[in-house]
Symmetry: C2
Subunit: 359 residues, 2 copies
């Protein structure tokens, strides 16, 4: 691919000229390539006279010169590139985060390689290795588990990274997440205010920090509101998806049907609940209230529209990217952690509990 205009050779046939190089620009401006380089780079421009700088810049413009980022990277050992490690782009949670990331990256002249791990640790290792061999300057990781030796190893090796949505224990790296704890607190308060007293929780996997934070916050909130604090009302889903959400819901219903509301670990798990409701003819919200987490796109189109806690995905991505850029610029700054505020969005999947059957 030749990013420049075709030109005519003397013989007349169309020939694609090579893109102009820095040398060409220098020659056109009557200076040495080194001078041209300095003139074009704002931070070194003070090393050349204003007059020659003007000439060089003009020449660059008329030639349509575009610096070759590959040559530049080779020399400077900077690739202006970061890696973005997510489980699966197909999960609607991630596209908004990705866009947030790319919005700030590209404003700084960076860009991102995206890799999907499908939650497979081995795939993750391979993908990250390939990212590193492509000389990325840092990593944004959305696949962190509570115990994650591989990430620890990377950190030991000085790989710059920031975590999104997840934390890992004993790992001193910056991370940006939603304020899960207050999100869950809001959800429980909403249900309590509606009059629910016996509330279940379909927790996310405890291998992820989000899973443990949310389920801990759930227990706290239950106690704070003086609701029924029954450990058997909490069941852990194996993964953050519909199938495992549905499985957990079935398990719960099979052993106890006296709860009137459920706080799902996230929207997908809530979707699993919907499936079970359809299976068993349970009407939501009349017989069972559900609140999700994340406010995924299109989750408001469900029947009933899902009450959930909205997470600023775009901001999460943007802040993560900014943080990574900060780390790259000043390598030994203390890692900060960012907790982004969430909001409760009440829709139609929650309502007052129906009075228990007066049996």
């Amino acid at each position: 691919m030749r990013p420049n205009q075709p030109s005519l050779t003397p013989a007349g046939e169309v020939k694609r000229a090579q893109p102009p190089t820095l040398r060409d620009v220098a020659e056109a401006a009557g200076v040495h390539a080194a001078t041209a380089s300095r003139a074009l780079n704002p931070s070194t421009r003070r090393l050349v006279s204003a007059e020659t700088a003007r000439r060089v810049i003009k020449a660059a413009k008329t030639l349509g010169y575009q610096p070759n980022p590959i040559a530049r990277s080779l020399k400077t050992a900077k690739s202006s590139t970061v890696g973005l490690v997510i489980p699966d782009l197909t999960n609607p949670l991630f596209p908004p985060i990705v866009r947030g990331i790319e919005d700030v990256l590209e404003a700084e002249g960076f860009s991102a390689w995206i890799v999907n791990t499908d939650n497979d640790p081995e795939r993750e290792r391979v993908r990250i290795d390939s990212l590193r061999s492509r000389q990325v300057e840092g990593l944004i990781i959305a696949t962190a588990r509570v115990e994650h030796p591989f990430l620890e190893a990377l950190h030991e090796q000085g790989v710059k990274m920031v975590l999104v949505n997840r934390r890992v224990e004993n790992l001193e790296v910056p991370c940006v997440t939603a304020d899960d704890a207050t999100g869950i607190a809001l959800a429980v308060r909403h249900l309590a205010e509606l009059g629910h007293r016996r509330i279940a929780h379909l927790a996310g996997p405890h291998s992820t920090s989000t899973g443990v934070v949310r389920s801990r916050a759930f227990r706290h909130a239950i106690r704070d509101h003086g609701l029924e604090d029954d450990p058997s009302l909490i069941v852990e889903c194996a993964h953050w998806n519909e199938a495992d959400g549905a499985a957990a819901m079935r398990e719960l219903l099979d052993r106890d049907d006296r709860f009137t509301a459920v706080v799902a670990g996230n929207d997908l798990i809530a979707l699993g609940c919907y499936d079970v409701f359809a299976e068993r003819g349970i009407s939501c919200p009349d017989e069972m209230s559900v609140v999700g987490f994340n406010d995924m796109p299109f989750i408001d189109k469900l029947r009933p529209p899902l009450t959930t806690v909205a997470v600023p995905h775009h901001d999460i991505g943007a802040e993560a990217a900014r943080m990574l850029l900060d780390c790259i610029e000043e390598p030994d700054r203390r890692p900060r952690s960012l907790l982004l505020p969430v909001t409760m969005v009440v829709r139609d999947s929650t309502t007052r509990p129906r009075p228990l059957p007066s049996a």
Copy 2:
């Protein structure tokens, strides 16, 4: 970011060694860097003796050598990189396509830069320019419009590209799309078989090939089945989204409420219909049947679950990537076009028409 192990300097403090270079490998194997290069590259390996090849490979392995793709790119003028131009990653249509693309790309050692244009031609120009300055070897384009001078210009300049989901008139470049025409035919047949005689079509924008192909196919199918062929039953949406779908639906209902079914240009437009049904208290499918197009993720979770025609998004992406790689390998092959088969998936948004009020 240093992709290798930290090591100890004589002084004892931790120092991150430089990643091993080809020179290091060569030295370790007791050969020249050129020889090492040939030994490591399968296609030039026959130029060195089996024995030295073995030594070099072994040395590379023990040193953990990873070729520097930047240096290689500089020398070979190949970046092993393609650009992927989509309107908006947040549209659930695209993530599966992207994954399909990346699956085949990465098997060939390529990777993709993704850019979002938000359907803004100017943004598109800027993004594509930036892609080209990053030396991509080709482009996969999902934002094509029927008239698209910019793409024509790129093609003139010899930029390799393949179109997904869209075609552009008078542009001889390969493209891979779903078989829109038979998809629409299937939808219409489905409705006809249910007994619908007066069917509306909310067409996608005619600035996109998909919009014109689908609406033309709709008219043909209507005639083929001998249904009511009323041009006023076709209205064009300004964009492929819910808002414009809803607007078109309102317009349609305001001037004619005697149709009993609607073929939406795609699932998002169908979603817009759902919104209008809710506004106006129209019950779907009892009073109005709807069929969408694409079978977006989660569209089966709607109430009612949407009848739609399923498109093999992952395959579309995969085939497009393969095609682009083919173009890159043998530049002057004739552009082929691929039409991928679609399937009808019947859910609950379509049923027999209710007998007209016996007024």
